[in-house]
């Protein structure tokens, strides 16, 4: 692992900078991932050699740009094993993807007294769109709660899933609890009740192989910037027959087939959802990110991150007064570790870590209903990536201990 790790770390120039005079230890990968040279160079190369607007000009440059843009769509489809490129819609972010489903598809299939079933561990982006849809349509929003070990309560899911459930929307991986949910089982059970299944894959797409056909989900959303790509590019996968019946929610250039003074005809999916000039540079960068992930290999990434978490979690558990949220059993816990130190506010802890060059998130992680359920206002969160090393894990635990000692001494 060591040799491959050293090669990989060199691809990320930011990892060699210093923060507060200490070598940077970046552990906020759940918020955004760092971007390797290969992605940056591909974007730069596109702007230097092939930049033009897509789907408009008949000239050579425009054609090259359009081809590059559409080739990435095929690349994305292959990456998540979608049936075809037409099932891939480019969006701005996971949030926009989820909003698109809730606004377009949600309004199409959800009626008064129907039920929308989500989980208490959802990020606000997979919660508020459904909350607002429920309010618009007078449907009922229900939440699957947690088991005692803070994983998804599948018994509660079975109990709340019924013939009124129209949509089940769930995160594949929680951005707080470090758990990955059994999407294939959830989809199977939901489909038995004729409900549609939406998956927020923002936290899973860079960490495990995803096969939307094997999972048999109806929609799946993720962002480029959490998988080594640039910000501002997101993806929505939808089953072709569902995308086909969904109305667009944004209107303008590129998404139309024909316009008169009084009416307009849409293009077919996915282009009817891509009004206006899209984030072409972002799409090119996303393509490069997928190439990078594939070259390293998702199985290697998964194995490496498993090794890291198995080093980190037991060490962290040894720190007196430290509470880890989510499952305590390391086998069930992935590389997202939310925790608190007794009597210390997460912001104070994060500032201490920052002084040691360790960058972690502190806050409610855009999951306030989950925070309420856990009985906290906020937590510290460290989230790792395959470009972190075992030494990084040891250094992190040491830094946590130093910060704890600092405040223990002061108070």
């Amino acid at each position: 692992m060591a040799n491959k790790f050293e090669t990989i770390a060199k691809d990320f120039p930011i990892l060699s900078r210093r923060v507060n005079s200490e070598p940077l230890l970046y552990l906020d990968n759940a918020a955004t991932s760092q971007t390797p040279n290969q992605v940056l160079e591909r974007i730069s190369d596109f702007y230097q050699t092939s930049n033009a607007n897509v789907h408009r000009g008949v000239y050579t440059l425009a054609n090259e740009a359009t081809e590059a843009y559409e080739q990435v769509r095929e690349k994305v489809a292959a990456f998540i094993h979608a049936p075809n490129a037409k099932s891939i819609v480019y969006t701005r972010s996971t949030t926009e993807s989820l909003n698109l489903i809730a606004s377009s598809f949600g309004d199409l299939v959800v009626n008064q007294d129907d039920e929308i079933l989500i989980t208490i561990m959802e990020h606000h982006s997979n919660l508020i769109p459904w909350q607002q849809l429920a309010k618009r349509t007078h449907a009922k929003l229900r939440y699957v709660m947690l088991t005692d070990d803070q994983t998804l309560d599948l018994q509660d899911f079975r109990k709340k899933l019924n013939e009124h459930t129209k949509i089940v929307s769930v995160a594949q991986t929680s951005n707080v609890l470090g758990v990955t949910n059994p999407i294939k089982l959830i989809a199977k059970l939901a489909h038995e009740k004729h409900a549609y299944v939406v998956v927020d894959a923002a936290q899973s797409v860079a960490h495990q192989k995803i096969d939307v056909q094997d999972l048999n989900v109806d929609f799946l959303a993720f962002s480029g910037h959490k998988m080594l790509g640039p910000t501002g590019i997101g993806v929505l996968f939808g089953k072709p027959e569902l995308l086909k019946v969904m109305p667009p929610i944004q209107f303008g250039g590129e998404m139309i087939e024909n316009v008169t003074q009084t009416q307009a005809k849409w293009q077919q999916a996915p282009w009817k959802f891509e009004a206006g000039t899209p984030n072409i540079g972002g799409v090119i960068g996303l393509g490069a990110a997928i190439d990078y992930l594939k070259a390293i290999g998702m199985p290697w990434i998964e194995a490496t991150e498993r090794e890291l978490i198995e080093r980190l979690l037991p060490e962290l558990e040894q720190v007196a007064g430290l509470t880890i949220y989510g499952p305590q059993n390391v086998v069930q816990h992935n590389g997202i570790v939310a925790f608190n130190l007794k009597n210390l506010h997460p912001h104070d802890v994060a500032t201490g870590l920052d002084m040691l060059g360790v960058e972690v998130r502190a806050g409610h992680h855009c999951a306030q209903p989950l925070m309420t359920t856990l009985g906290v206002e906020a937590t510290v969160r460290a989230s790792l990536s395959f470009y972190n090393s075992l030494t990084d894990m040891d250094r992190f635990v040491y830094a946590v201990k130093m910060v704890k000692e600092f405040f223990d001494r002061e108070s």
Partner: protein, 153 residues
């Protein structure tokens, strides 16, 4: 690796205020109260004021937060109690300037009392919001800032 720099922020006086905050209670005879949230961590602070003849007769706060926000709220109540409204508003602005690393006249710094020590926040820009929350709530309660409350949708 060293945490020496942290000592600049977490001075003894800051830690004292945080662990034993002054005027941390609600005010039954308050003439105004304002609650503000720190959107990044979800902390909330409610500031109560009792105004008599254009003067802050009493000021207090409730709510939870980090060391910096609790200490700053406590220091704020010390600084503004018994102060005329116009002067209290000036002190709020002076505190904002101080945390952003701007120079504030020595007399104003003296008026701020313990709170002046939070000028050290200029070196910790990510934490300025923690410290200024209570002061924004106070300024709003004293009519010096727009109350941009949104309702639940």
């Amino acid at each position: 690796m060293s945490l020496n720099k942290l000592n600049q922020l977490y001075r003894a006086v800051v830690l004292d205020h945080a662990s034993h905050p002054h005027h941390k209670n609600d005010l039954a005879d308050a003439t105004q109260s304002i609650e503000l949230h720190n959107i990044s961590c979800g902390d909330d602070i409610r500031v109560f004021v009792k105004i008599t003849t254009n003067k802050v007769e009493k000021i207090s706060f409730t709510g939870n937060g980090c060391t910096i926000s609790q200490a700053s709220a406590s220091m704020m109540t010390d600084a503004l109690t018994g102060v005329p409204i116009t002067k209290a508003l000036e002190e709020c602005d002076a505190f904002f300037q101080l945390t952003m690393g701007q120079t504030v006249p020595t007399t104003t710094q003296n008026d701020l009392g313990d709170a002046a020590i939070l000028g050290s926040l200029a070196a910790f820009p990510a934490r300025i919001k923690c410290a200024t929350l209570a002061w924004h709530a106070a300024k709003t309660a004293l009519g010096g800032e727009e109350n941009e409350y949104n309702n639940f949708e």
